[in-house]
């Protein structure tokens, strides 16, 4: 068996990548500490009302008339278009609140105002969701780590999970820096990012595991570089198609999904990068050797040694 002609020296940029990742993580944690996340209704609790005007809505005026009528902590923003308005407030919920707000706004405006949705989430529920989301994330990481450790080896497991933590922190960091609303669907997207990035990492790891016994003479760095080069075609292709569909979702999927698709867009770019420069990088940092793969290499050895 011959090695593919040109091996790209991915790991040559190890140190630079480590510094970049380190800075991104520090920046993200810093922003999360200072700005926090712009938690949506799902997590904070409160009331949220979406209305649609026939023409461009005057947010200032809406805010004014609602505050005047005694509603507290009113936040009024456009939602996807100039006509759609999202009103959020912290206040006790009554079933007629949606209609009350609409009739209040109608009094100030000519033309129809359509009540599109009314949501109320109790503060207790929001706090619980936040906790269960975090616990779910930790649990997912733990299970994944166990599976990878079982199928590969603990160094692989550690490297894979480090890459996932890296992706999650940076994705959250981007949401924090740009103050994009973080709701339940974004949490789902972040977990999907974990799934995707993991998928990517596993493909690379699988190749590294396979190549160790085949490329007998070369050192670990070389094996990693060869494996990354061999999987590059696939990595670009899959990331490409996935990014394409996410761009479609971002532009055509409507406002409700914009947070979701933004999280995945960011996450998949980071996830693709991290498979190469965090997971593989860390694997080298952990001094992976051929001997580390001896026991699992046995079962795959038969296939690999075929001419």
């Amino acid at each position: 068996m011959t090695i593919a002609n040109k091996v790209i020296n991915f790991m040559g940029a190890r140190m630079i990548a480590t510094v970049i990742s380190g800075l991104l993580i520090l920046g993200s944690i810093g922003s999360l500490a200072v700005n926090g996340l712009a938690f949506g209704l799902d997590f904070t609790g409160g009331v949220q009302i979406e209305v649609r005007y026939e023409h461009k809505a005057d947010l200032e005026k809406i805010r004014g008339s609602l505050t005047e009528s005694g509603y507290s902590n009113v936040v009024v923003v456009n939602f996807g278009s100039d006509e759609d308005v999202l009103i959020r407030m912290q206040q006790a919920f009554e079933e007629s609140l949606g209609d009350e707000v609409v009739s209040l706004l109608k009094a100030e405006e000519a033309g129809q105002i359509e009540l599109r949705r009314v949501e109320f989430v109790g503060p207790q529920v929001g706090a619980e969701l936040r906790d269960s989301g975090g616990i779910g994330m930790l649990f997912a990481l733990a299970v994944v780590m166990a599976y990878v450790a079982m199928r590969f080896q603990w160094k692989f497991a550690l490297a894979a999970v480090a890459a996932l933590v890296h992706d999650v922190i940076i994705t959250l960091g981007v949401f924090s820096v740009f103050k994009i609303g973080f709701d339940l669907s974004v949490l789902a997207a972040v977990l999907a990012v974990v799934g995707y990035s993991l998928n990517d990492t596993i493909v690379v790891f699988d190749r590294i595991r396979e190549n160790f016994p085949i490329l007998r003479k070369t050192d670990s760095l070389e094996v990693v570089n060869v494996s990354l080069t061999q999987t590059l075609d696939r990595t670009l292709m899959t990331s490409g198609t996935t990014l394409i569909v996410l761009l479609v979702l971002f532009f055509y999927g409507g406002e409700l999904l914009s947070g979701f698709s933004s999280a995945l867009l960011v996450g998949i770019v980071i996830g693709t990068y991290s498979s190469i420069y965090v997971a593989s990088n860390l694997l080298l940092g952990l001094k992976i050797t051929k001997e580390d793969l001896m026991p699992p290499a046995k079962e795959d050895g038969e296939v690999d040694e075929m001419p």
Binding site: A4, E114, L246
Partner: protein, 624 residues
């Protein structure tokens, strides 16, 4: 031979795809907007005249309608426009009056031959269909407290019965029952009572310095769980009955977590009305029938709930003094008397209720006992105000009606039955009323979401559009990059989408907006397996392997990678499912199903296509 599937394998794959096609098909038929009419109580039957009144009212107002159907339980009228739904509901409600429930509905238009195969469209989540979502919390703490108090009362009763003298029996805030005695013997016999009659309490004895003897008892964790489960499931049943009263098509009433209940009502727009019915409280009272000689101040006249009974008897007098109320009822089921094969209702009381029932009935055998059903109803009064607008004002009223009046045959205890019912329907109605009158613990609303029908329709539109565009671009992309192999991947991708739709329809999974996003994501990610295989084949060709062996090796070697990569993603999707609620669960479902179906299509279906094109012949060059 290399790269040839045996005939049976090809046929099997084709059969799976064909079946997926059939089961995915119902989703192509858009449902008709409709209104549904049902009776206020489940005993009420509908007929043609009701339907005719409704359709006549619609025709008068110029609303186009068609395809009316009527069964005993409900009538359905299809409309041609979604915008007509709300006006149609208002018109019909006015024409039929308060005794009927009119609700919005979407009537499926699946052709009969598909329906006879058991195929149906996917359920749509509230974010797509529009509707109301409630999350209610059951106050289990108060159910537990109530149970503890009744345990204490019962325990004291037992002590008196056994003539055991005690200093005090108290309940602490933490739920610990402390009983203090003067002598060790008394304490020990009390402990024996605990052991015998209160098995779900954990006991502990101690001697105090002041010469008193103490036994403490607490509910074990499992006993508390049991009380909670009982309270939640009791409320669940009650809620289901009340939701049925709303006449909503495909409502969801489900337990969520330890003490919460989700209620989802697709198509419902009037939250206030829904909350009134769901939050309605009902209760029961068991009272003896008043003797004719009873003083007027000690008796009260009530009507029967059933119209037939009311016509026949014109009501009955019951004593003012009640035996027990509905909170002592722990269960009621309709069944058959094994001896006479007549319908009957079995009633279970808690032990305190049973004791009271026994005391009151043992000396009154031969008299009749009535069961009162108490409902707190809201009636809407429609009046025309000075400006000529219709004003609706809600009015609260309490309604007490007799649901059963039966002769006491013997002294009753914790378990007794009501016989002499005319038919099975009457028995199950009575059991249902008894159950719904016994709400085990108070509930309150902790989350509420209303999604307008236009927003739902728009979400479907953008969702479907995104799937189409994404699908189209990926198809072109794969074809350009992998040429002939791209065709195989595209066939696999198309099969994957069909299979996913079929699986979701068959499993009765709910499609939500994030669920559609999951399908879009699946379209992007499902090609991954094929990409893995194809780039492997490319490599093998570059390594100088002959074409047929390269194809074979590509599929074989990529398999482990595909498996590992997909299993780990599946783990994450399953965890997402378990922590998510509503729409997010929908996303997790499409994502995990998509992973499973894509493994089948990317490996088997694409292989079948490639084998058909290249297999079993001498190929010089692969178009890849």
């Amino acid at each position: 031979m290399l790269n040839r599937y045996p005939l049976w394998k090809n046929l099997l794959i084709l059969a799976v795809i064909a079946m997926a096609f059939v089961f995915a098909m119902p989703n192509l038929y858009a449902p008709d907007p409709a209104v549904q009419i049902s009776g206020e109580s489940s005993a009420m039957e509908l007929d043609e005249t009701v339907l005719n009144t409704a359709t006549r009212a619609l025709t008068e107002e110029g609303i186009v309608h068609f395809g009316e159907t009527v069964t005993e339980k409900a009538a359905l009228i299809r409309l041609s426009k979604v915008e007509d739904q709300l006006p149609a509901k208002r018109i019909i409600q006015r024409a039929l009056g308060d005794r009927f429930v009119v609700a919005l509905n979407m009537a499926p238009t699946t052709p009969d031959w598909l329906r006879s195969l058991g195929a149906g469209p996917m359920k749509l989540g509230l974010d797509l269909s529009g509707g109301v979502h409630f999350l209610m919390e059951v106050d289990t703490a108060s159910a537990i407290a109530k149970r503890q108090e009744s345990s204490i009362a019962e325990f004291k009763g037992k002590l008196r019965e056994e003539r055991i003298r005690y200093v005090s029996v108290d309940l602490s805030k933490e739920g610990v029952i402390t009983a203090v005695f003067r002598s060790a013997e008394d304490r020990d016999s009390a402990t024996a009572i605990f052991r015998k009659d209160f098995a779900d309490l954990a006991r502990e004895t101690s001697d105090r310095d002041d010469g008193t003897f103490v036994v403490t008892a607490t509910y074990t964790e499992s006993a508390i769980r049991e009380i909670e489960n009982y309270a939640v499931s009791q409320n669940l049943t009650t809620l289901r009955n009340r939701v049925n009263e709303l006449g909503v098509s495909e409502p969801i009433v489900q337990r969520q977590g330890r003490n919460r209940i989700v209620v989802e009502l697709p198509g419902v727009q009037d939250t206030a009305e829904a909350k009134r019915v769901i939050g309605k409280t009902a209760n029961l009272e068991f009272r003896l029938e008043a003797k004719p000689s009873e003083l007027v101040t000690n008796k009260e006249q009530f009507d029967f709930r059933s119209e037939a009974d009311q016509r026949r008897t014109g009501g009955a007098f019951l004593e003012r003094q009640l035996i027990i109320s509905g909170d002592h009822v722990s269960g009621a089921q309709s069944s058959f008397d094994p001896e006479t094969n007549q319908p009957q209702v079995n009633i279970n009381l808690d032990s305190a209720g049973g004791a009271k029932m026994h005391r009151s009935t043992r000396s009154n055998v031969g008299r009749r006992m009535g069961v009162l059903f108490i409902e707190y109803k809201t009636r809407l009064d429609r009046t025309i105000n000075a400006a000529g607008e219709e004003v609706v004002t809600p009015r609260q009223l309490v309604e007490k009606k007799i649901i059963s009046l039966a002769t006491i045959q013997s002294a009753l205890g914790v378990q007794f039955r009501i016989t002499g019912l005319d038919n099975v329907a009457e028995a199950s109605e009575l059991a249902l009323l008894l159950r719904s009158g016994a709400l085990a613990a108070p509930m309150y609303f902790v989350e509420e979401r209303t999604i307008g029908p236009s927003l739902g329709a728009e979400n479907i539109r953008v969702g479907v559009l995104s799937v189409q565009i994404a699908f189209g671009i990926v198809l072109i992309f794969m074809l350009l990059y992998y040429k002939v192999f791209g065709i195989a991947a595209n066939v696999a991708l198309a099969a994957n989408v069909v299979l996913l739709a079929a699986c979701m329809s068959m499993l009765g999974a709910t499609l939500t907006l994030p669920g559609i996003a999951g399908i879009v994501l699946t379209v992007g990610m499902a090609v991954d397996a094929n990409v893995l295989i194809f780039s492997r084949i490319k490599e093998e060709v570059a390594n100088g392997l002959p074409t047929q062996s390269a194809i074979n090796a590509g599929y074989e070697r990529a398999f482990t990678t595909i498996l590992d990569a997909n299993v780990t993603t599946l783990i994450v999707a399953v965890i997402l499912y378990s922590i998510g609620t509503g729409p997010v669960k929908g996303f997790a479902v499409t994502l995990s199903l998509g992973i499973l179906t894509s493994m089948f299509t990317a490996i088997m279906v694409s292989r079948m296509v490639i084998n058909t094109i290249y297999g079993g012949r001498n190929v010089k060059k692969l178009w890849i």
